[in-house]
Symmetry: C2
Subunit: 324 residues, 2 copies
């Protein structure tokens, strides 16, 4: 099969496409013929050598998600049959024509969604839902703050917050405000030159019950100021840097929670548990049209370097797909 293989780490030029052996599914695994994968921030870090595949799989094929059709099943597989449309997350190996995944880690592609477009769903909707709802305790009526509202995770988070009856504010740059509003954001806080914290205090004086932060850096201190009494800050990424000065007193007096989370490093039992709960709670909202993947651009696999370059400019709004 064709796959993107990393023989060294560095700029987008290290992403080389070559023929590698097909994965062989184990007895509980499904072999998926991948229709499309998508680019994630973590892929850029992995390419630069900063975020290795925790499975240490060789050859090193990046790619944290995929959508496609079932090409084969292991002897004990009961949930899927060849031809079924499936999607899912994995710790790596998504940038390839085929991938083998435990059957309980797979999700059915929602009926109304093209199998290629479905590759824009798993990573960001699982991440946003897990961060907001599972880790962050967001419910109807409560207020969420989502940083980078026009990012893949951001566009998923806005939709999920609204779908469950919560209220949501986002931070974003001016050019992306309209997209965030169109997706349902109740409050759009411009990141620059405005001080979003001041605007947030006017819009949501009691503070945010759940903050989804992919940025870190200077936002950390502002998050602690913006979080509500007994609120939760869910740290999903650190695009803005990881080492920062913190006023721990705010954590104490607000009785706040600050939670670090990643999907990639979770063991099988946790990935399966979160996937099955997502299938029950969130997947039906794609069938009803309440949720939809937000796609910025579709590249062919051979254009993978250009796809990485686009994400590095932060110009995208929504997901960048790689079509096989």
């Amino acid at each position: 099969m064709r796959a993107v293989v990393l023989h060294s780490h560095g700029g987008p030029e290290v992403l080389t496409i070559e023929e590698v052996a097909d994965p062989v599914p184990g007895p509980d695994e499904v072999l998926v013929q991948v229709a499309a994968t998508a680019v994630n921030r973590a892929d850029l870090l992995q390419r630069m050598g900063l975020y290795p595949d925790p499975r240490k799989a060789q050859p090193e094929i990046p790619g944290l998600e995929f959508a496609g059709t079932v090409a084969g099943v292991g002897a004990r597989v009961t949930m899927w049959r060849p031809g079924d449309r499936v999607m899912g997350i994995e710790a790596g190996g998504g940038y390839a024509e085929r991938i083998a995944v435990h059957e309980r880690q797979l999700l059915a592609v929602p009926a109304g969604i093209d199998v290629v477009d479905a590759a824009a769903i798993p990573e960001v909707f699982l991440t946003a839902w897990d961060a907001l709802v599972v880790q962050g305790g967001l419910t109807s009526g409560r207020w969420a703050l989502v940083h980078a509202g026009a990012s893949g995770v951001g566009t998923a988070a806005i939709q999920i917050a609204k779908a469950i009856g919560a209220r949501v504010a986002v931070t974003c740059s001016a050019g992306k405000a309209d997209l965030c509003r169109a997706l349902g954001a109740d409050v759009v806080l411009l990141r620059s030159p405005h001080a979003w914290l001041d605007d947030a205090r006017v819009a949501v004086p009691a503070g945010f019950d759940t903050i989804l932060d992919v940025i870190g850096g200077d936002e950390v201190d502002r998050n602690l100021q913006a979080v509500a009494q007994r609120g939760t800050i869910v740290q999903v990424g650190l695009m803005g840097g990881g080492s920062t000065k913190v006023n721990v007193g705010l954590l104490l007096t607000k009785r706040a929670h600050w939670v670090g989370t990643t999907l990639r490093t979770r063991p099988l039992e946790e990935k399966v548990a979160v996937t099955r709960r997502f299938a029950a709670e969130i997947l039906p909202l794609f069938d009803t049209g309440r949720l939809r993947p937000v796609i910025d651009r579709r590249y062919s696999l051979s254009e993978v370097a250009d796809a990485h370059r686009l994400m590095e400019t932060n110009a995208n709004a929504g997901k960048i797909l790689l079509v096989m």
Copy 2:
């Protein structure tokens, strides 16, 4: 009744004893004839004007806990009768001969424990249990790290961790190591001149599932290094300072939780809930002798200034009581 009243804030000399009106219990409240109260760090902060009573009660009487006998009950009280031995926490008013408290916030004094000594139980055992178990998820088999192991909260935390089948390491100064070991600490990490973090890595290589920290300051960074994958740091105090540089990357890669907590500011429904659960899960362990209050010294109420001075030296091991 006699009470310690704060007319101004400052050193121990502002603690003045005078006659004030008895509290009048509401229909759901119990009037307690206080046998003893105890000194807490928060009392020192309140005396200095740094930690006001959230109820803004006047006259300003400090004191977060008490033990005594029921002197009277409101019209709707069903749980207690005059003469019952009770103890509990309140947001203030403990440094007085009588206090009125909601009946569901009271705990029975365990059978084998003197009513004066019982004043050493509520604040530190509730705080330690809530931090370790309720907030921190400590269970049998897991490892706790308790900073300031010989403090009131520390001595309670060691006993609770052992009583539920967990393993516990403490940090303390050399002179208090024997007390911590006698209470059941599996590992004693000397705070100085040793670097406790290095010793902790040798003793508990996988890190601590739950860290109870009353110190903050420089310990914050070390806590993030010492916490286990998916572990929880419970921040109960900030004796060492609140503003500090933090490596948020560790929170993320460990998928750790960092929780700020206080008992004092909780609304009635939360105080009642935690008190009733404590009554079910922890109070029976005093009856069996598995848990016991650790008392450093008993002062009379008129010696309240000396009691504060003792705590300010950090020389105490266990609780400092004020006997009416």
